[in-house]
Subunit: 256 residues, 2 copies
Amino acid sequence: MTKRPIILVTNDDGVEVQGVHYLASIMEQFGDVFVVAPQQHQSGMSQALTLQMPVRVRKHKDTDNLHIYSVSGTPVDCVKFAMDKILPNKTADLIVSGINHGSNSANSAIYSGTVACVREGAINNIPSIAFSSLDFSSEINFEPYKPYIEKITKTVLQQGLEKHVFLNVNFPKPENKIMGMKVCKQADGMWVERFEEKVDPLGRTYYWLTGGFVNDEKDNPETDEWCLQHNIVSIVPLKVEATDFQTIQSLQNLNE
Amino acid sequence: MTKRPIILVTNDDGVEVQGVHYLASIMEQFGDVFVVAPQQHQSGMSQALTLQMPVRVRKHKDTDNLHIYSVSGTPVDCVKFAMDKILPNKTADLIVSGINHGSNSANSAIYSGTVACVREGAINNIPSIAFSSLDFSSEINFEPYKPYIEKITKTVLQQGLEKHVFLNVNFPKPENKIMGMKVCKQADGMWVERFEEKVDPLGRTYYWLTGGFVNDEKDNPETDEWCLQHNIVSIVPLKVEATDFQTIQSLQNLNE
């Protein structure tokens, strides 16, 4: 009998939200599932690590095929903790993250904790996939996404992924008819932020971060943003390597 | 008379450390300097944003050529806040971050708040440079780094950088004789983490993150790690774009 794959499931919305348990339920058909998720909501935490304080861990469920833990730190802490202390042989055959309540397309992938978890997987040479939905609702019906998640997962389990490459999948809102699925690039653009100024009951000023994404590739059908606007599931392969080799050439005058 | 450049100086070690003020003092010769740094130590915060709570801001100094503020959030919050509320015309001609107390070579660049600040600059099309030292000491003598910082800064102010490209500079320990400077790639490898298990006075278990970097390119002289081991200043050009275009081709079977 061949051994069932070990699958780590995590997210950045926290262990209590629906998305991570829905994703775990799909993964149970593919292998033994370890859910290791943050104890609290951790959106926008990127690849952050908890270095200034310790973390604590809770075990929520421990059956043969499904194990659920929560960690008091960041999303990436969860992946690192799972590898050191929870997973058999300190590794997994697959890491999946999500389903995130809210999209992580374009360069939201840089700020997202959901995506950071699977970047962490790719750094450790584990095939890894992030799943996010354009829908922010906690009551969302994820059923329309199921066949797409199954197809992508099967493909990655069979084909693997190149070293240090991971997948960032985003879904249109589930109430819209899904028009297909496309492997594409992340749209170029940026978040233009505003800090809303407010005054607390003691008369002191404070600021809340808010803002909107400005898409510099609005009309490019090869981008994730375009796909999502056309109700197409987007799959963006991302890599860990970030060196810009062209600039190494153009800055030779700095060598000494 | 031509206008002096506007230079934003930030870090992740916080507004109180020596590194950021030393860097600001070098920058004053090149332009009008705005220091906007975190109120507290924020190492390992990567590109994290403060979304779950508000931030507060303090003004520490406000002269003609030097303005110092601190923000209660993450390093990247500082850059975003500076752009929205502090900098004239909501932009800068240059963003520099550091000098970090501790190295940010290889893929530490992914977890570093110091590097995240200049990635944020590059996303916003502002030429940006991160400076870090292998020395963790708060009492470090930065003087040996000065001519290198000046040369890199002058070059970037004159030549600019490609769109969405930024520089990650690391310095050997200052007590060693610096043997040169090289534009190179980030070394491939990973942090292998361990969580040290301890017990608190109430008998409850907690964990501290620790670990070490495993270099998969130990003998490659084109990497930052190799340079630093040979007391050479490393300059790695990094880019924001992370799509792996080869994998878009190899996963065409997922399109539907």
